[in-house]
Amino acid sequence: MTRKLALIVWLGLLALTAVEVWLAYIHTPPLTMLIILLVVSFGKAALIASYFMHLRYEPRAAFRLIIPVSVTFALLLLGFLPDAMRLAERRK
């Protein structure tokens, strides 16, 4: 990766951060904000992993090792969240 490309990725990350902060500044409704923030966060993470961590330039085997494990585990954890909503309903 060239220094110029690294600089472009860095500027992109700064721009995405500015978008996130702007959403908080204008007090975007929580659910809309959460969805947008998650999309932007995964986008920023993909940029960092692909370019700064060189995953884009690694053999496909590395990608196959890292991404499915991480995503599967994260999705399994989300299974707990409906219980949190049940608790919230009881506490209202």
Partner: protein, 193 residues
Amino acid sequence: MTHVHTQSKQLGMWLFLISDTLTFSTFLVCYAYARLANPNWPTPFEFSPGVLTAMLMTLILLTSSLTMVFAVQSMRDGERPVATRWLAATILCGIAFIVLHATEWRHLWQIEKVATSGNPWGVPLFGATFFALTGLHMLHVAGGVIYLSVIAIAVARGKFSTEDVETSGLYWHFVDLVWMFIFPLVYLMSVKA
């Protein structure tokens, strides 16, 4: 032989980072669980200075990733003194992040009276999850500063190879990557209305 040895170092770091991804995922989901289960979850961060300070911390971490990339590039170009300077810049960014984070913690402790056992809003889990999540991340940043310092000193003395700097770079970028989730979910979603 050197090539095989180097690949094993990077593979080792990737395996560690996978395990760390699972750890941070668990912490983030615990935070989300606690938040969803408590309808009166506090939103203690003023846009200024709270969110702006966190934004500055984000900019510092992103910049430190850029300086880390430049350090690796300089090593590839065989410019050890330049690589050492970029590593030093990365370390300074890490220290600046820790100082800002510590200042913010002090504000929450002393001014807002937030502790792991309780807070003025009556939701003790806020302090417990906030300090655990951001504390674990700060511990990683502190560990990274020490790790990079060891690498920088060795590079300045003509020891260690490009691959060693690359491996340390993987760790540092990961610390940056994790913050890309903590910053929006913990800070931006908790701005005082």
